[in-house]
């Protein structure tokens, strides 16, 4: 059979096998710009960052001499980076738990056939429309030790209110090397601001989950004499598992790479009580010109996020392959 040029479309024999194959190639060509972009900008650049992280490029002048794992070794002995890891873990746990708890609570409340449901829902979600920078700027004032919430606390008789993000105290300190493991009190303020911004998002997820559970299921439970709590605990909650799973993935990866909120609200904080790897990376790279160290921090951040994301991606991929 005579082959036309691949760019003209003879439409006479659409069912021919060569036509099928060519279609697949055309489909692939459509994706090619994006594939190339992702290959270079995501995977290529990650590779290059990894390479930089093994180099001696820690001054303004680029120096790609191989230095092995020196930069990583430096970081794990570095007080600031150790604090960052502690803060990241504590922040991620608190932030994820609170967002899920509050989000689920709000969703259940709003699912009770409330008047003005739309209004309430919009109030709880609107912070999502704001930038972390705006959130940071406002909450910085609300938790400022000499104004904001503390004015109210003083008014109700608390003479010695918390210093919020200025505080350097680490609760439940557990010394491992030079680091105090535990909960830095200063992080609480940042966690509250972040929960304010994202719990509405979790609420929206749970609300859509609750709405997709068939009413018959709830009715059946009630007919069987289950109390509201039992219905929730044994019927609704198990149905919401996939949503909780997605929420943990999304909130977890947001908090592992959080940067803007910290940057705008507190900065690294005294004794690095509110510092995070994302902030350290930017400061050490662009203020200190420690490119190799910055690259190492970035690679560690990527590994942390990957621990959460890669199993999730593999899981969803498998699910799609076997419908």
């Amino acid at each position: 059979m005579a082959q036309a040029s691949p760019f003209t479309t003879p439409q006479t024999h659409p069912k021919k096998r060569s036509g099928r194959n060519r279609e697949k190639w055309i489909a692939f060509l459509f994706l090619l710009p994006s594939i190339l972009a992702i290959a270079i900008f995501v995977y290529g650049f990650i590779g290059w960052t990894g390479y930089i992280s093994l180099s001696k490029w820690n001054t303004f002048v680029q120096d790609l001499t191989f230095s092995g794992l020196d930069n990583y070794r430096f970081l794990f002995n570095d007080f600031r980076f150790q604090s960052d890891l502690r803060n990241t873990i504590i922040f991620t746990v608190l932030f994820t738990l609170l967002c899920i708890g509050l989000g689920l609570f709000l969703a259940v409340l709003l699912d009770q056939k409330i008047k003005w449901e739309g209004l309430f829902r919009n109030i709880f979600i609107f912070p999502m429309a704001l930038s972390f920078i705006v959130t940071g700027v406002v909450w910085q004032w609300i938790f400022n030790p000499s104004t904001g919430i503390n004015l109210i606390l003083k008014k109700i008789g608390i003479t010695d209110p918390p210093l919020w993000y200025v505080q350097t105290r680490v609760v439940l300190p557990l010394h491992i090397g030079q680091i105090q493991f535990g909960v830095p009190m200063a992080l609480i303020a940042v966690v509250i601001a972040a929960v304010w911004q994202l719990s509405g998002f979790t609420m929206a997820m749970y609300l859509s989950g609750l709405r997709s559970i068939p009413d018959e299921l709830k009715e059946a439970a009630r007919v069987d004499g289950a109390t509201e709590w039992q219905t929730f605990r044994y019927i609704l909650l198990p149905q919401l598992k996939p949503i909780t799973f997605s929420a943990v993935i999304i909130l977890g990866h947001i908090s592992l790479k959080i940067f803007d909120l910290i940057y705008a609200m507190t900065g690294p904080g005294a004794a690095f009580v509110t510092d995070m790897p994302g902030l350290y990376m930017v400061e050490t790279t662009f203020k200190g010109s420690h490119y190799a160290q910055g690259a190492s921090i970035a690679i560690i951040m990527l590994l942390l996020v990957s621990l959460l994301i890669v199993p999730y991606l593999i899981f969803t991929f498998r699910k799609e392959e076997t419908p």
């Binding site: 972390f132 996020v305 991606l313 991929f317």
Partner: protein, 273 residues
């Protein structure tokens, strides 16, 4: 509902208290931004202003308007381009699957979750090399590229709802890939474009890491300028709050008027299928 009357009262009380708590930061922003300079003090933070004074808006606007314009120059083309790319990718990945297309999609999706710090140094070197460092077109390129995963994901989920039989029928009628896209997919895509458009608009408008590391001085988008405004100690905080509100206004307006699509975008980006 089976709740008793007391139950109802408690329910509404909790909701109202929580709603007020959620609105507190907005209350602080609004009342502070309309205070005259001498009333914007630490000790008077919660008090209402004696009269409405819009001078802080004037000052904030003068300082920030070039950056607000920068943000619009950035957001509009970046949103349109990334939506178009996402639509094409989503179409192919949902309706023209080929061997390996699912793994390809998963590899693309990974780009959505990476911390951008992990590509930042090479990205800046690359932008410097192609002379787009510290330019708005450079930032547009960045947002289009790193927007591919999420826009592809949303459109792919969106197109999954278009019945495959329609595509099959069009194929039998002799339509090409492109023909089917133009004649069938595109006309059905408007809600998809609205959702993706709102999502990308909000994300790019609010983005900070790329903005602060890729641009300096006159090319800075609004969020960087706002951060600089609040970082300098001399500026009164009524001006900061006015600035923050101005910076938040475009996305808030989108949210207020297109909230339904905004939430749909949120969910489409987070819940698969």
């Amino acid at each position: 509902m089976t709740l008793s009357r007391t139950g109802q009262i408690i329910l509404y009380a909790i909701l109202i208290i929580l709603a007020l708590l959620f609105l507190t930061p907005i209350y602080i922003m609004v009342i502070t931004s309309i205070k005259p300079i001498n009333e914007a003090t630490l000790s008077g933070m919660w008090k209402l202003p004696s009269h409405v004074d819009l001078e802080s808006y004037q000052i904030a606007f003068e300082k920030l308007s070039p950056n607000i314009l920068n943000s619009f120059y950035l957001v509009i083309p970046a949103t349109i381009l990334s939506a178009v790319l996402g639509s094409l990718n989503g179409y192919i990945l949902s309706k023209w699957r080929f061997p390996g297309s699912n793994i390809l999609f998963t590899l693309i999706l990974f780009g959505m979750f990476i911390p951008y710090q992990s590509i930042l140094i090479p990205l800046i070197q690359f932008l410097q090399k192609i002379q787009l460092y510290n330019t708005i077109p450079g930032l547009i390129l960045v947002h289009v590229v790193y927007g591919i995963p999420i826009t592809t994901l949303i459109f792919r989920n969106f197109y999954a709802n278009i019945p495959t039989e329609m595509i099959e029928a069009a194929k039998i009628d002799g339509n090409s890939i492109w023909g089917i896209y133009q004649r069938i997919i595109l006309p059905l895509s408007i809600p998809g474009f609205v959702v993706v458009g709102i999502w990308q608009f909000t994300q790019i408008w609010n983005e900070f890491l790329f903005a602060v590391t890729i641009t300096n001085t006159s090319q800075q988008p609004i969020m960087v300028a706002l951060q600089n405004l609040s970082g300098s100690q001399i500026v009164q905080w009524n001006i900061q709050m006015a600035g923050a509100l101005l910076a938040a206004l475009p996305t808030l307006i989108v949210y207020i008027f297109l909230g339904k699509y905004f939430i749909r975008g949120l969910l489409a980006g987070s819940l698969k299928g």
